[in-house]
């Protein structure tokens, strides 16, 4: 099993509903976020191009945060989801320094927190909160090993890219272009 997410940069309108849904679902402390929306404007008027990306942890196959963690608190579970075991985390900051996407943040309680692909929802057969709530249905989630999953189908049909593949992390958050 290999969970992955695809974000349609052409359908996303940047409403930030996913961000709020994530904060609500996961009790993210006030002033922090596990995911965010980036708007890229390229070119000069009137030739302008825009790309909107809903970003979060890339759940890398070669995750530098997991490699750097001195206690094993950062670990990869079934399906390739990168998680932090709060009671193993000492809050040293190595994982935050090692993430080229800056996808982690220090939780006020001391441990490090990040996107979990809503692992607790997946267990019950639900999709991640951001995917479930997206009003334009621009987020696709599923198992890459299953050729009939939403994400597999859309990645086969459309061109996609990942963020900083040259960092060698093998990210699993795809952006449809």
């Amino acid at each position: 099993m290999r969970y992955a997410m695809a974000v349609d940069t052409r359908k996303c309108v940047g409403c930030s509903d996913c961000v709020v849904a994530c904060q609500t679902e996961n009790n993210v402390p006030h002033g922090f976020c596990r995911e965010w929306v980036v708007e890229v404007m390229d070119g000069t008027y009137p030739q302008l191009e825009m790309e909107i990306r809903s970003e979060r942890c890339n759940h890398c196959v070669n995750a530098p945060c997991v490699r750097c963690c001195p206690t094993g608190a950062s670990h990869i579970v079934e399906g390739g989801i990168v998680l932090v075991e709060h009671n193993d985390c000492i809050g040293c900051g190595a994982c935050m320094a090692s993430c080229p996407y800056d996808a982690r943040y220090p939780h006020p309680s001391g441990y490090v927190d990040k996107c979990t692909f809503c692992a607790h929802r997946l267990k019950n057969g639900l999709s991640p909160a951001c995917v479930a709530v997206c009003p334009t249905k621009c987020l696709y989630f599923g198992d890459l090993d299953d050729l009939n999953s939403d994400v597999s189908i859309v990645l086969k049909k459309r061109k996609s890219k990942t963020l900083i593949p040259e960092a060698g992390t093998n990210p699993q958050l795809y952006f449809l272009i």
Binding site: G31, A94, A167
Partner: protein
């Protein structure tokens, strides 16, 4: 023109607008650990080579600083942790891929060894010292019997400690400024240099001082070579590393790096040491303090600048 904006709002504390999770604690620890490593490596090396008589300060007196430096460094590390009560998790895991895990275990060995090494020389340095209990004397005899083994352990672990402080940072591919393997040897050389400067500062023996001025001079030469090498590597690398180098070549860290680290911390003490080795006599306090200061500044500047450097996407 390309403009990227986070439109949903994101201002994660310590992460945005650029990473700043590591502050003075880490910088100070990297310096103290490096200096302690330098002191212990030099002491062990001269003991193993049987030059204890010639370099008494380096082998017997300067190592008294090491436990103090290490303990202060460990306290700084502890202060830095955000989930403090779980720090013991470091010692229920061995993670070979994590430099920080290596460091934690290395400290676990080198700190007690540095205490034992000091304890073995305490009666020599302070003749009136009395251990009070017989079992401590027995313990002293025991460790004295295995002093050569102890010296080898100390040498190996001191070198690991010295290099690891650099590797800790260079393992972070996400921060292009740190992501250079030169950082390991550079921090080791800088730590050894600070260690040699400590002996230069404490020694009352003329021949020993001369020898340590010579050692320091060689180490400064190595450091300068490594720094030049580091920048050559950056400038011949990818865009992100070219930009990382620019932080020091016209960017916000230019003045502090070249003035405090290179000129005050290396070139001026090197010049003064050359004068000392020649006919002039200068107070050794000046080059020694400058070298130690430069070594401290190197850690601070690399730690802070590294967090500013990043991948662009």
């Amino acid at each position: 023109m390309k403009e990227e904006l986070i439109v949903s709002g994101r201002m994660n504390q310590l992460i945005d607008p650029h990473l700043h999770i590591w502050h003075w604690q880490i910088s100070l620890y990297l310096f103290l650990g490096g200096m302690a490593a330098g002191i212990l490596a030099i002491a062990a090396l001269y003991f193993i080579r049987g030059r204890e008589k010639d370099y008494r300060t380096a082998v017997r007196i300067t190592p008294f600083l090491a436990p103090v430096l290490l303990v202060v460094g460990l306290i700084a590390l502890f202060i830095d942790l955000r989930h403090k009560m779980y720090f013991w998790q470091l010692y229920t895991n061995i993670r070979l891929q994590s430099p920080m895990s290596w460091g934690a275990w290395t400290l676990m060995v080198i700190t007690p060894v540095s205490f034992i090494w000091s304890a073995l020389h305490i009666r020599d340095v302070f003749p009136k010292w009395d251990w009070k209990y017989k079992w401590i004397y027995d313990l002293e005899t025991f460790f004295n019997r295995f002093k050569m083994t102890l010296a080898w352990v100390m040498l190996i672990y001191a070198i690991i400690l010295g290099i690891y402080t650099g590797i800790l940072l260079s393992a972070f591919n996400a921060r292009p400024l740190w992501n250079t393997s030169i950082l390991g040897p550079l921090f080791l050389a800088s730590g050894l240099s600070a260690g040699a400067a400590a002996t230069l500062l404490l020694s009352k023996d003329k021949a020993e001082r001369k020898q340590f001025a010579r050692i320091d001079l060689v180490l400064i030469g190595i450091e300068l070579f490594l720094i030049i090498h580091m920048f050559m590597g950056f400038l011949a690398s990818t865009q992100v590393q070219i930009e990382a180098a620019k932080l020091f070549l016209g960017g916000p860290y230019t003045m502090s790096f070249w003035i405090f680290v290179v000129i005050l911390g290396m070139l001026i003490p090197a010049l003064l040491e050359i004068m000392e080795l020649g006919k002039f006599h200068i107070p050794v306090l000046v080059p020694a303090v400058l070298v130690i200061f430069g070594s401290l500044m190197l850690r601070f500047i690399i730690v802070y600048a590294g967090q500013v450097s990043r991948w662009l996407y």
